[in-house]
Symmetry: C2
Subunit: 273 residues, 2 copies
């Protein structure tokens, strides 16, 4: 999927919602657990209930890998089930030397057919370049994450008061573009997201941390949206585990619709739709 | 495996050799390719030929994941085949928030039975703590890696001239110990490894970059060994792809023996054996 296709989907669906498929066998509704592939069955119902509201899905690899081979089968079936016009993000946070990154790129972009992968920037551009050889595929670099301890590292400052995460973003501008690179910025980083927008006014930002993590959708959106929307907000637990009854899909849809409505109102206010 | 068991193995085998099982289906000897599970058959022969010379094996996950499900089956069989007294490192370079790290820890330490996993430090201690809940299991934090572009990030300096990788190591000292944490330092970082030893005199360092990457084993060893040896040097391509004939195991053993002999002489010179 290329840049303008993503922007189009946002305008068509009036939504910049990404749903995190962090599907944990211990948390899914009980009635699914006796089926052949409970994780896939869970994901399938989530996708059916939300595919007109979400512009992206983001499975975190850890949830699938921890289930061994069967987890990867569930993942592959899930990827196949997601409609083509929806952006598919592998939340994998990989980052290795070039030769090895090439193998990961093959795995995620070819075997699984993801559109994008999250990457750790610690080893520099070598870990990113092999992914950028694929047309219409994306890397999403960790920049300023939402977890508590991240600031111990990401706020490490040079003698010009430049923070590591700012340096990471600036460094990436030398070898990437808004057509193939996004950045992860936590929804709790409200004070800094405007500074990030100055460095990357046109790139998409992937924003986790709304919902269960308690941050406000409207506030972070109004501080980071650009003319093409330019943000994708991920919500996982607050949507996918909103109910555990046999009709959980209805509650899941309600929750997703609630977020989509709020996003529509924000996009409208910003003159994007 | 705990700290003193590793030190014991080093003394018994007179070796601190780790063999990187970066087993690529396109590079293994042709005569193995028609077997049921070529990657496992390749690894099995490498292990048989070197298990008295190596104290650790380190499969890089990318090589297995890129083969899909069959790759993970090869990996699981390989892990089972490695003798118990040999240290098993998952070169996975993961790094995610706590809840997700917990899932990865389960996958690597329980499903696959690895002894250690390499981690990216970019998200701070949250990504490491879940792994440290396991007794006798290890994290190996990326500190100063050997790839070209790493310095753009890892040499980012604060106003006291402290570099990011030094800060990463120092930060980790607040929540880890020499009994559960090692650091990756590239063999080409000769000038800095003595500085690193000042910060972590007692921790093990995992050193890649000898062999195909052209750095000298003796020089990096003499600059980093401590009283318990304290280093594990990884060699991958230079050993595992040293020959592609039907008797490649012999050449593999010769190569590993050459490194072990050199290591024995260094350990002897340092008074460790």
């Amino acid at each position: 999927m290329n840049f303008s296709e993503i922007v189009n989907q946002i305008k068509i669906k009036k939504s910049y919602l990404c749903i995190g498929l962090d599907s944990d066998i211990e948390k899914i509704p009980n009635h699914l657990k006796n089926l052949d592939d409970p994780i896939f069955e869970f994901n399938k119902r989530i996708i059916d209930a939300t595919k007109d509201l979400a512009i992206a899905y983001k499975p975190n690899l850890a949830f699938y890998e921890s289930q061994g081979f069967s987890g990867l089968i569930s993942l592959k079936k899930t990827l196949k089930y997601i409609p083509n016009n929806i952006f598919k993000i592998a939340d994998a946070k990989r980052g290795d030397i070039g030769n090895t990154s090439k193998m990961y790129a093959k795995s995620f972009f070819e075997t699984f057919n993801f559109d994008a992968i999250t990457l750790s920037p610690y080893m520099g551009k070598d870990s990113s370049l092999p992914y950028l050889n694929y047309d219409n595929k994306w890397i999403i670099l960790l920049a300023l994450t939402s977890n508590d301890s991240s600031l111990n590292i990401q706020h490490f400052k040079n003698n010009n008061d430049k923070k590591l995460y700012q340096h990471v973003i600036e460094d990436s501008l030398n070898w990437s573009s808004k057509e193939n690179t996004m950045y992860v910025v936590g929804a709790n980083r409200l004070e800094e997201i405007q500074e990030i927008r100055k460095i990357v006014p046109y790139n998409f930002l992937l924003i986790p941390g709304v919902g269960a993590q308690g941050n406000d959708l409207r506030e972070i959106s109004l501080n980071s949206i650009n003319d093409n929307c330019g943000i994708i907000v991920n919500i996982s637990r607050d949507i996918i585990y909103s109910d555990s009854s046999t009709s959980f899909e209805l509650k899941v849809r309600d929750k997703a619709l609630e977020y989509q409505n709020e996003m529509e109102s924000i996009l409208d206010k910003k003159g994007i739709i």
